[in-house]
Amino acid sequence: MVVALVFGALIGGSSDASFDIGVVDAGGTASTAQLAASLTGDAQAGNVTFAAYDDRAAAAGAVDDGDLNAAIVITADGDRPSFEVLRSSDRLVSGQIGTAVARSLAARTDLVYLTIAADTAVSGTAPTAAEVDRLAAASPGGTTRLELDDTGAGKGSTPSPSTARRWRSCSCSSPSASPGTRSSPSARAESSPGSSPARRHRARSSSANRSRCPSWPSPGSVMVWLVTSLAFGARWGNATGVLLVIAATVAALGGVATFVAAFARTQQQADMYVSAVTFTFALLGGNFVGPDAPPLLATLSKLTPNGWALGAFTDLLGRPDRAGRRARPRRRVARLLRRVRGGGNEPSPPRIPGMSRVRAVYAFVAAVMKSLVRDRTSMFFMAVLPVVVIVVIGTTYGGTSTIRLGIVAPPGSTTATALRDRLADEAFELSSIPRSTARPPPCAAGSKTAPSPWSTTRRCS
């Protein structure tokens, strides 16, 4: 279970693309309240979800507990609001998201403050009230601003339609990861401070069910059955029985996922727990081994729904289908059947007088553990193989500690220098890309040439 939890954390962490940010109005002034309300009023912006917290201690506790990725505390520092970002040292990217939101907030007030201060210093007179109102509305006509343009980005910085469809499809991903879409019911329920525990539980459960693909019956399993039957002539046995087994398996696993999700406090935790339990079931149920499972694993597989499903599928192989054809189970399948059935129709052993139920369970567990230690094959599949899988998967997909950014810019660009200075944060690894090696991005719609910092100019039709 520990190995499975680690595995689930590794996998779950690598695909986490939504962030929960807490907002605390610690200033108590009208301006800080307005700033806080501007965030929490729009509960979800892109992949960031905001939730209001009453005080700094509550937000800090939520960050420590992992309920929040980061928190922003807004305080009044004279006539200029200040922002404190509460972040966990082991989640650099999440902290960087919180810092980015705080910087964006600060930029709104800085625009007004710096303009008034600099205007007064240069001209000796303060701007008029109309000019201040125009700046406060963030619509300064006739001035320039730095735009983050992604319309001509190399591969597109917004997900392609196919990618978005993949996220929304049955891919066991977090539904809230899709940007630009409305917040999912679970995200809204989780982010709403006033939502009841029961509502949060229902939201998490439905989220876990969606993320575990519990369509009725599972289209993936049905597709495997159809393709292997029609294209490769595989014999699965009675079609109705196969469909019923698939439906029952999906229902059983969905119920387990819902139960496990009830112990989670956030959607991310629910996904992680369900991933861990799914992996454990796959391990114990014999999905990684097949019909040649060692005796101990065959016994343990009877504790899992997928183990029973495997048994049912092999059982169906021995029953005649509608055309009266009887699939001949191979020798090892028959051997597995005998193991799973534990002796078939043999009568259950008589109860031993004087042995209580608890002692019987204890004796059974002790016998299983002894058998486990002595069976090297089982030890390999239960201890060594998961570690190997963790190392391989973790090395391949893990590591969201930093964001590696390359910067390509014209020589002597002050904007590039300012960007480097500000991005020199612990969550970024910056490197300069020589213009000679940079390839121009594809043409934006309506433009005739690719932009200027690239070494070559691409002509667009």
Binding site: A118, R145, L146, T402
Partner: protein, 77 residues
């Protein structure tokens, strides 16, 4: 975020436009959000300098220096 040599790249097109280049996946949204704060920070100072130059009739360099001086006179916590 461990695919190639970079998770993304920033191309400074000119003094008013930067481009963010990322792969088309979930991480692109995260990277864009993380970078957006810095861009908003720079944009505010650029806009403030432009406003000052327009309002007072000074040259852009003087306006930018005045904004930087005002910023350093009251550094944000």
């Amino acid at each position: 975020m461990r695919r190639g040599k970079q998770d993304g790249a920033i191309a400074v097109v000119d003094d008013t436009t930067v481009q963010l280049i990322t792969a088309a996946d979930q991480d692109s949204v995260t990277i864009r959000t993380a970078v957006s704060g810095v861009v908003a920070d720079l944009s505010a100072r650029l806009t403030a300098a432009g406003s000052v130059a327009t309002d007072t009739g000074t040259d852009p360099a003087t306006a930018a220096a005045a904004v930087a001086a005002a910023d350093s006179a009251s550094p944000r916590r």
